[in-house]
Symmetry: C2
Subunit: 434 residues, 2 copies
């Protein structure tokens, strides 16, 4: 027997049906905002990630040499691919470019709860607008997605931060500070002890007192943001704080302000973010890691050889999202559903097939016997697929030009004239033939 | 600048929208028959293919050693994976098992028209029924899929053959014949010269006279099938011919007989087929290769260590299917569609956002300004995304508690009371406010 590879998953129909419902709801929300679906390859030149992704991602890359001697990698994230696609057609694409896609990605990580080597993400991005409305639209579509899935403000929160506030504060300390390294320390701060966190900041070039001050500054409330401007006294911090405030004001207009909390300690792991960043958390804390995140990355397209093009996006992943939905009790039922089973008794296939066909044309899910089985075996099968109604096409009934409808929930049965079934009924049930 | 890898494709929104419409129609047809979606990994133990797939597929495998020293391969086809999944849960799955999925596969082939290194397939399979109705249901769902996509009997044909008729005839010649090798020769026969075809049959163990006889036998019409039984005089051929006739009779009951032509010269390339096989062809011949194919493979599950489990399925691929749909003029328009663009003039974002939100709740695709742009720039953008209706939210209109609706096709405009827009209208248009 062959084994599935560690960290990869098989999805059988009942679970897949629940997943499909969730993916559909996510995509329908995103489409409502005018994001357009794109299709992207599973493989890219490995150099793309070596040059552009953080070290952590490169360490986890599934990369190899293909039969043509190319050094290729399975895509560990979508952003470098969409950046490549934007650059390739930059002139002809009208701005803002609003794209999404749902697909698998691959990272060689240690599998654990909510983390797999093959995982699915819906990537949602806006290219070509630096306006705070674009950041807020990303927050809005992310929040709508979650509320459409059945969550409310008690269930989740967006911890909103700003890379340029972090960078600007670090800058204000003067001296030779490795900004990205310090920001990565901030990203880890919630998961490690304060002393270790301060050590990491010191490794990045702060001294211990500066590390403590920095830590305190990041704890400010929303109405104390001016203290940061005062502390640093730079245009950069002033602009970054104003930008953050404008994004939150736009989120207010978009009706999703209630889901957003200021949290400068939130930094996001990836190096390419430049402005507002956010992470979605389970408000109850039961799902302990970030459910997903996103933010602004204005320099990436240019670094790919394109015209300077501001960008902002987010990307919910399947594994953590399902943990949150399960925790909140809104994960869809993992149960098959079937509208009709057309049961054949004796040599009635032509009539049964005609009825199945007519019901399918009405948009229903309809199964019929393809195994030449007994009445009892067919009934058991109809039960196993949760058929709502069984249409029994029997030789004797047909002599009277009738079929029998059986409601599987109540067990009630009625006869219906075969020539009038399903007839003009959108969804024929036993009530309509009583 | 980074290049896309050869044989891989990027799909931009307009093309992707057409592809999505086609995938949705395919999946909706398949779901109507009660096939259930499954989700499957992109990677398997490479040994699975080395043991189970034909030589050709193994030569084209994207395989490599992962960071844990596993010899893995990107899935070049789905059948081995679903076989593994059936075996893993054989006891608990109720039969027949009817599964489908749409996803990419990877083969290192030379790219050409209708062939890519990354391609998409919808795999549709029934496990657990050896009844001719199951084969016919596969033919029926395949035909319905194509007619639902807008094709008719003038556009396509299913060339139906039977592996056991081919095998049984070869057997009847006696001697030491390599059956799979001879069947692979039949599979190639349409693409090569007769002399070369006969040479291949001779390589497989026939003599030249037998090769000619075999060739003639395969050319029989449907009403001459008894001649094959007579020629061979074996139970095996008798049963195979009867099985084929029963499948065609069931296809008649299922309403798809008109799409099926007997064509014993059709063999399918893969080794694992055992019974009825078929290939879909463009009736005009403009698309010269098979569009897709399928058939019965009763021995595969057992060869994976499972209980003997009959199986039959088919798998349309995106590239050839789109060639056929384009040839027939039924490929969907590659054009974006947008229901509403909510245009902001002046500081009207709160009202514009409220209107956009209400329209989205009605299930519409709605964009609004996220770039702080001028009236003209917003109008151009609304035009570029084919917005049907533009809702102009202007400061002056709002002073009169009004918004302006503009029908983009006619250019007509009306005013609507802001408090009543969109109101209870399912799909508010300018007519409703005139």
């Amino acid at each position: 027997m062959y084994e599935r590879i560690k960290g990869f998953r098989d999805f059988y129909p009942a679970e897949m049906q629940a997943r499909r419902q969730v993916f559909d709801e996510v995509e329908s929300t995103v489409r409502g905002y005018g994001f357009r679906e794109i299709g992207t390859p599973a493989m890219e030149d490995a150099q793309l990630y070596i040059d552009k992704s953080g070290e952590e991602i490169v360490d986890e890359l599934y990369s190899f040499e293909d039969k043509g001697g190319r050094h290729v990698a399975l895509t560990p994230e979508l952003t470098p691919t969409v950046a490549r696609m934007v650059v390739a057609k930059q002139q002809e694409l009208s701005k803002p470019i609003k794209w999404f896609s749902t697909r698998p990605f691959w990272r060689y990580e240690e599998p654990q709860q909510g983390r797999f080597r093959e995982f699915y993400q819906t990537n949602v991005d806006i290219f070509g607008s630096s306006d705070p409305s674009a950041d807020a639209e990303i927050l809005a579509v992310a929040a709508d997605m979650l509320t459409n899935l059945g969550l409310d403000a008690e269930d989740f929160e967006f911890r909103v931060s700003h890379r340029d506030i972090l960078g600007g504060l670090l800058d204000a300390f003067g001296g030779d500070i490795a900004t990205q390294q310090a920001i990565r320390a901030v990203d880890k701060s919630a998961k490690i002890e304060t002393a270790e966190y301060h050590d990491l900041l010191v490794d990045a070039g702060l001294d211990y007192e500066q590390a403590r001050t920095f830590d305190e500054l990041l704890a400010v409330d929303e109405d104390e943001l001016d203290e940061l401007v005062e502390f640093a006294g730079t245009d950069r911090i002033h602009e970054a704080v104003t930008n953050l405030q404008n994004v939150l004001a736009a989120a207010e207009d978009f009706g999703v302000r209630e889901f957003c909390d200021l949290s400068l300690e939130t930094a996001r792991g990836l190096d390419y973010y430049t402005g507002v960043v956010f992470e979605c958390f389970d408000s109850t804390g039961e799902v302990s890691r970030a459910v997903f995140g996103g933010g602004r990355y204005d320099d990436l397209i240019e670094s790919f050889g394109g015209q300077p093009t501001p960008a902002v996006g987010f990307a919910p992943g399947d594994a953590t999202l399902s943990l949150l939905l399960q925790r909140a009790g809104v994960w869809p039922d993992e149960e098959l559903s079937t509208d009709y089973y057309v049961l054949q008794v004796g040599d009635t296939r032509p009539v049964a097939a005609r009825i199945a066909r007519d019901l399918r044309e009405g948009g229903h899910v309809v199964e019929t016997d393809v195994s030449d089985r007994s009445f009892g075996a067919q009934m058991n099968y109809a039960d196993s697929i949760n058929a709502e109604t069984v249409v029994i096409v029997g030789e004797r009934d047909l002599e009277n030009d009738e079929v029998t409808l059986k409601d599987m929930a109540s067990g009630d049965q009625v006869q219906a004239p075969v020539g009038e079934f399903p007839g003009e009924h959108d969804r024929p049930t036993i009530e309509q033939f009583e």
